[in-house]
């Protein structure tokens, strides 16, 4: 009874199913009509969330905020969530996640605050966007927000890790600012502290917000000992954490050592890149869900390595012509055995028969 009701709920009417059927292409191809509509307005789309850049603001050295006006396909977001920003860079689509650095607003605008990374194609291109340009977005994702609505809150952030905290604080303010919150935010220099002014403004309007801005150049590295000194009652607080890898590991260790792991929620900026080591004799290759691992010897193709581990990936010519063995690399660096070109560390398509790893690699086999 229940299951059939649930099924009915997701049932698409036969008329709609017919209208969406691929046999009717290109009449029903949203992409074809989007292309036509984009002559009038590139932000219009029948299916794709897109947004127009309305303002670009420099926040700190190497940090830029983009104010975006999304089209009607964007379903909105909650404070603390992130979106995929999908850009065409020299003809290729590249997408990366960025945290929304504002709470949902009445005018529907979004703000993404982006820190430039070396060799980060998306962050570099995003910072060069001009007002008026149109970008593709994903729907908002993530559930980085306080779980327990009554407990006292501690937010710890470093560098651009402050972005979800600003969003969450603005949201708390809109909800009446009843909670007691401490924000501990650190940056290398005073100039590097993103949103320092905006946070001061918030503190004026939120009497229960205690702000602690920590400048490492002046006050030394923020470590477990210092955190405990600054926030005396840290063990009693629900904690939200966001920042660079090393910083987050330090705080995670601190909480784990105190047995308070469940008080802590962390938000990481994507995957931790595996170190590149061309001289290593072998590299670990992980794949699948649940994750399995095999090793590839230096100079050995990933196809041969997978086969000697007993796997049977599809293959054709075994010399880089036919692409039957093409597979998505989730992370890690590989060298193309034909051209000697070294790949980037992120997600891309590779041909297993002519790729050899230079670091630990994760594949979507």
């Amino acid at each position: 009874m229940n299951t059939s009701a649930a099924r009915d709920q997701y049932k698409v009417s036969p008329v709609r199913r017919f209208l969406r059927h691929p046999l009717l292409a290109p009449f029903n191809s949203t992409e074809a009509w989007d292309r036509l509509a984009s002559v009038a307005n590139p932000a219009w789309s029948l299916s794709e969330p897109r947004a127009r850049v309305v303002r670009v603001v420099d926040e700190a050295p190497g940090v830029t905020s983009l104010w975006l006006k999304p089209n009607g396909r964007f379903n909105g977001f909650r404070a603390g969530q992130h979106v995929l920003l999908d850009l065409d860079i020299d003809g290729a689509r590249h997408a990366r996640c960025f945290t929304l650095s504002c709470a949902p607003r009445a005018d529907g605008l979004l703000r993404l605050t982006i820190k430039r990374k070396d060799k980060g194609p998306v962050s570099t291109a995003a910072q060069q966007l001009q007002p008026g340009e149109v970008v593709r977005l994903g729907q908002a994702m993530g559930d980085f927000s306080p779980r327990n609505t009554h407990a006292k809150l501690l937010m710890i952030s470093a560098g651009s890790g402050v972005t979800p905290m600003v969003s969450l604080l603005q949201d708390l303010l809109q909800d009446g600012a009843e909670r007691e919150v401490t924000l501990l935010h650190c940056g290398r220099t005073a100039a590097d502290l993103i949103f320092a002014d905006e946070l001061q403004q918030l503190a004026l309007r939120m009497p229960k917000l205690r702000l602690h801005l920590h400048i490492t150049e002046a006050a030394g590295r923020l470590d477990a000992e210092k955190i405990a000194q600054i926030v005396l009652d840290w063990t009693e607080r629900e904690t939200l954490l966001c920042g660079p890898d090393g910083f987050m590991q330090m705080v995670e260790t601190m909480y784990a050592a105190a047995g308070l792991g469940e008080h802590l929620q962390s938000e990481s900026f994507g995957r931790r890149a595996a170190p590149v080591d061309p001289d290593a004799a072998q590299h670990a290759v992980s794949h699948g869900n649940p994750e399995q691992v095999f090793t590839a010897l230096a100079g050995q193709s990933l196809l041969e390595a997978a086969e000697s581990a007993g796997l049977k990936p599809k293959f054709g010519c075994r010399r880089g012509i036919c692409r039957t063995c093409q597979c998505r690399k989730r992370s890690g660096t590989v060298t193309n055995l034909l051209t000697g070109q070294v790949s980037g560390p992120g997600e891309e398509l590779i041909q297993l028969c002519i790729s050899t790893p230079q670091s630990a690699v994760e594949l979507a086999l």
Binding site: L23, L24, P26, F27, S29, E31, A32, R35, D88, D90, G91, A92, R93, H94, G316, C317, R319, I321, C322, R323, T324, Q326, T339, E348, L349
Partner: protein
């Protein structure tokens, strides 16, 4: 005769290595330059295909009078030709995989033709491009029904091959579609029934969909106008079949295109592979629009050397490939469409008859 007038160039190990290095360097140079220009090209091709398919099918379904019917047929034939050749074939080679666009991914793309995409990826990308013109391994050579080389055995049924050829050309999409099923092997008892059934399944599914789409669904959507849609679709498919067949046959079966035995290609180096691709392919000369209509298969030599570079690059690379070939004394087979196609027909007729001179096969 082909194998006598134009023999295969043999390069000594040293020049072969330099020849290979020069072509590798050219490939790398173009690979580095690939970017926005190529992305714009394929997107523009998609707009043309989508636009002419909508216009063509629309005119066939809702147009009035013979002029709109002819325009509809032309629009749909153009859409099918461009989709199959400039988009489908090239995308499935992985020429645009670098764009990271799910709609242009070589491993998932499906085209508007009765041939199943996965079958094509195997018979074309693996067998034909790796084993180009190797008799017995490259099943594109003669499509299992035509005798185009002295190395193939003659039988009396070959005498009728001009007729077989005409039938193949008119139904070319079906020839391509059954290609990877290897029906011949099943008929000769070299394939188990279960495997044969497994190989038939994707073909039947795809062919059923295409037939339903072109001859049931779209005619039915036009209500009382169904006859003009049905006939128009039939004619558009026929035009596409004849055109693609002519272009593809000009690519490998011209008078001077060389064939190989499996023994010849054992342990071949990349340089020898390059050489075989050049010897086994031939180019067509023509305008930019002509090249687009052929999906740039008019640059068959460059395509076979660099199958995964975006096709419009072939036209830019051709003079340099030609120059490299000239310097190493490698014959570069090129000519106008009619000259090359006449060569194909001559070859087809000549090999309908048994060999005049016995050739000692190594």
């Amino acid at each position: 005769m082909s194998s006598k007038t134009m023999s295969k160039t043999r390069l000594d190990a040293d020049s072969l290595a330099r020849f290979e290095a020069e072509l590798d360097a050219l490939r790398l140079e173009v690979l580095e330059d690939i970017g926005e220009r190529d992305a714009r090209h394929i997107q523009r091709m998609r707009s043309i295909v989508q636009g002419s398919a909508i216009a063509g099918r629309g005119l066939l379904m809702f147009g009035i009078g013979p002029i709109s019917w002819v325009a509809g047929v032309v629009g749909l034939a153009l859409a099918k030709i461009m989709e199959n050749m400039e988009i489908g074939h090239n995308v499935m080679h992985g020429q645009y995989d670098w764009m990271n666009d799910a709609a242009l991914n070589s491993q998932t793309y499906e085209w508007d033709i009765v041939c199943d995409g996965d079958h094509w990826r195997h018979s074309h990308n693996v067998e034909h491009h790796d084993h180009t013109n190797v008799i017995g391994k490259d099943h594109d050579f003669g499509y299992g029904m035509l005798r185009l080389s002295e190395q193939q055995r003659w039988s009396p049924s070959c005498l009728l091959q001009p007729v077989w050829y005409l039938l193949l050309a008119m139904n070319f999409q079906w020839g391509v579609a059954v290609h990877d099923i290897k029906i011949g092997r099943f008929v000769k008892g070299r394939m188990k029934k279960a495997e044969f059934r497994e190989r038939m399944r994707p073909f039947l599914r795809k062919a059923g969909r295409q037939l339903f789409k072109d001859y049931v669904l779209f005619p039915a959507l036009a209500f009382w106008q169904w006859p003009r849609v049905l006939l128009g679709n039939l004619l558009a498919n026929l035009i596409r079949n004849l055109w693609t067949n002519a272009i593809i046959f000009c690519g490998h079966f011209t008078e001077n295109a060389q064939t190989y035995t499996t023994r010849e290609v054992e342990n071949e180096t990349r340089g020898q592979w390059y050489l075989r691709q050049i010897h086994g392919s031939s180019n067509l000369e023509g305008s930019r629009f002509f090249h687009l209509l052929t999906g740039h298969l008019s640059h068959q030599i460059e395509h076979h050397l660099f199958p995964d570079l975006p096709a419009p690059r072939y036209a830019e690379m051709a003079p340099r490939v030609r120059d490299i070939c000239a310097r190493y004394g490698v014959h570069y087979n090129t000519g106008g469409f009619w000259k090359q196609y006449a060569g194909v027909l001559v070859r087809l007729v000549r090999h309908a008859f048994p060999n005049r001179v016995r050739v000692a096969v190594a």
